[in-house]
C-alpha cells in the first residue's frame, strides 16, 4: 500500500491546467507544422501560419492559446495499491482546477446548472473519469475541452449491418457538418463499440492519445487512415475557408459490443487539442 496525500494530486492538477493552456504538447505542435507543409491553398497556408505564430505568442507573452480555456476533463488512473490521505480526492481535484484557472489567468467557463446558467466563478467542477488499474501509481491526464468543437460532437447508434462503411460515413458527415464551427484543422476522436456512454468516453480518450499515433490493431489503423483521407477530401480547410488540411488526425479506440449494436462516438476537437499527462 502506498499513501498519497490528495494535496499532491491537487497541486499537479493546478500545474497541468496552467501549462497546457499556454503551450500545446509536442505531438500537436509537430502535427500543425506538418500540416503547414502539406497545405496547398494559399489562404489555408496563411491561416496555418497564423496558428503557429499564435502558439509562439502564447508561450512567449504568457497569453492563453485560446480564450476558451475549456472545461477541465480529468482522467484519473488509480493504482489499486494506492491509499489516499488528507481528505476528499474529488474535492482536491476541483481545488486544483480552481487554483489553476484563477492563478493561471484562465477563463471561467463553467455554469452551475445547465438551465439557470450561473457561472461558478472558478471553472469547477471538472468532469472526472476514474479508473482503477494495477500498481501503486496515479496517472493524471488533463484535457481541457473547448466547446466550439465539443458542440459538434455526437453519438451514432449504428446497426451491425452498417459495418465499416457506415462508421466512415458517420465520421465524415460529423466533420462535414461541423465545418468552420469546430475551428479546423480538427483532431477527431472516435470510440467504436461498448454501449451508448462507453463509445463517447472512448472517443474522448482517443483525443488524449499522442496525435499521429496509430491504433495497435491493423484493421483499425487502416480505418483511421481511410477516415482521415476522406475528411481531407472535403476541402473545408483551415478555419473552414478552404484547403486540404481539414483534420490533423483521426484516432479510434474500440471496445467489445453487443450482438445487436454498433455504437460510434465522435468527439471533435479543434486545433487547440490540449492533453497533458503526469504520473505520481
Amino acid at each position: 500500500m502506498r499513501e498519497i496525500d490528495v494535496q499532491t494530486i491537487s497541486d499537479a492538477v493546478r500545474e497541468l491546467c496552467i501549462r497546457i493552456n499556454y503551450e500545446l504538447s509536442g505531438d500537436m505542435q509537430e502535427a500543425l507544422m506538418k500540416a503547414a507543409e502539406t497545405e496547398t491553398s494559399e489562404l489555408g497556408g496563411k491561416i496555418l501560419g497564423i496558428l503557429e505564430e499564435n502558439l509562439k505568442v502564447a508561450k512567449e507573452e504568457q497569453i492563453p492559446i485560446c480564450q476558451d480555456t475549456g472545461m477541465a476533463v480529468v482522467f484519473l488512473e488509480i493504482g489499486q495499491e494506492v491509499h489516499f490521505t488528507g481528505g476528499d480526492l474529488e474535492e482536491a481535484v476541483n481545488r486544483g482546477v480552481a487554483r489553476g484557472y484563477t492563478e493561471g489567468y484562465l477563463r471561467k467557463s463553467v455554469v452551475r446548472d445547465p438551465l439557470d446558467r450561473v457561472n461558478t466563478g472558478d471553472n469547477t467542477p471538472a468532469v472526472i473519469h476514474y479508473q482503477i488499474v494495477q500498481g501503486d501509481q496515479v496517472t493524471i491526464t488533463l484535457a481541457p475541452k473547448g466547446f466550439g468543437s465539443e458542440n459538434m460532437s455526437r453519438v451514432c447508434m449504428l446497426k451491425p449491418a452498417d459495418g465499416e462503411e457506415g462508421v466512415l460515413n458517420a465520421i465524415v458527415s460529423a466533420v462535414k457538418e461541423a465545418g468552420p464551427n469546430a475551428c479546423p484543422p480538427v483532431v477527431v476522436g472516435v470510440g467504436i463499440g461498448g454501449t451508448f456512454e462507453k463509445c463517447a468516453l472512448l472517443a474522448k480518450k482517443a483525443l488524449t492519445r499522442p496525435v499521429g499515433s496509430t491504433s495497435g490493431k491493423p484493421h483499425i489503423a487502416e480505418l483511421e487512415r481511410k477516415a482521415l483521407e476522406r475528411i481531407n477530401e472535403l476541402k473545408i480547410g483551415p478555419a473552414g475557408l478552404g484547403g486540404r488540411v481539414t483534420a490533423l488526425a483521426v484516432q479510434i479506440e474500440t471496445y467489445p459490443t453487443h450482438i445487436a449494436g454498433l455504437p460510434v462516438g465522435i468527439n471533435i476537437c479543434c486545433h487547440v487539442n490540449r492533453h497533458i499527462r503526469t504520473v505520481i
Binding site: I47, I50, L51, E53, N54, L55, V57, A58, E61, Q62, I63, P64, I65, C66, Q67, D68, T69, Y105, L106, R107, K108, S109, R117, N119, G121, G146, G148, N151, G179, P180, N181, C183, A239, G240, L241, G242, C270, H271, V272
Partner: protein, 176 residues
C-alpha cells in the same frame, strides 16, 4: 482584396465589402456573447434601453480570458456565431452593422443581414493570443456580473478579419 477600414460602419463601407475580402478594422467594437445577447433581448422585450446604441456598431462574439497586470485583455479570439443566431435579427433591426465571430450563420440571419445591410466577419478561431495584441483598450460597460460574458467597449487597431457573409448574402463557407 485587402482593405483597411475605420469603424463605425456606414452603408457605403458595408457596400464596399465582399465575401472573401481580408479586412483590417480600426475603431470601436463591442464584445457580447451568449449571456449578454440573452440579456439584451430581455431588455428589449421590457422596452428598456440597451447599454449601448447599436446604430452602425460592430459586435465581437468574444469572452476573453482575464488580463494580467499590465495587459489590456487576455486571450481574445472569436466564439461560434451560430449560438447568437436566435437573437441576431432583432439587433440588426436596431441598426447593428457588423458582427465578428466564427462559423456558419442561419438563413434567417442572412436574410436579415441583406434586409438591414450588414456584414459578418470571421476572425481566426483559436488564435486568441495573437488577436489580443490588436486590442488596444478595453473596458466593461455593462453586465459586469456575467464575468467573461460582460459587454466590453474595445478599441481595436488593424484587427484582422475576413468577410464571410456580405450584405448581398454571399457566403464564403458555401463556396462550390
Amino acid at each position: 482584396m485587402e482593405k483597411h477600414i475605420t469603424l463605425p460602419l456606414t452603408n457605403e463601407l458595408v457596400s464596399s465589402l465582399q465575401a472573401g475580402d481580408m479586412v483590417y478594422l480600426t475603431g470601436i467594437v463591442y464584445s457580447a456573447r451568449d449571456a449578454a445577447h440573452k440579456r439584451m433581448i430581455e431588455t428589449l422585450e421590457k422596452k428598456e434601453a440597451l447599454p449601448f446604441d447599436l446604430k452602425g456598431q460592430t459586435i465581437y462574439y468574444l469572452g476573453p480570458t482575464p488580463a494580467r497586470e499590465g495587459q489590456v485583455i487576455g486571450s481574445a479570439g472569436p466564439t461560434t456565431a451560430s449560438r447568437m443566431d436566435k437573437y441576431t435579427p432583432a439587433l440588426l433591426e436596431l441598426g447593428l452593422k457588423g458582427m465578428i465571430g466564427k462559423g456558419k450563420r442561419s438563413p434567417q440571419v442572412i436574410d436579415s443581414m441583406k434586409k438591414n445591410h450588414a456584414v459578418y466577419f470571421a476572425a481566426v478561431g483559436g488564435a486568441g493570443a495573437l488577436l489580443s495584441r490588436q486590442i488596444r483598450k478595453s473596458r466593461v460597460i455593462a453586465y459586469e456580473d456575467l464575468g467573461t460574458e460582460a459587454i466590453r467597449e474595445m478599441y481595436v487597431e488593424e484587427f484582422p478579419v475576413i468577410v464571410v457573409i456580405d450584405a448581398q448574402g454571399t457566403d464564403l463557407y458555401q463556396r462550390p
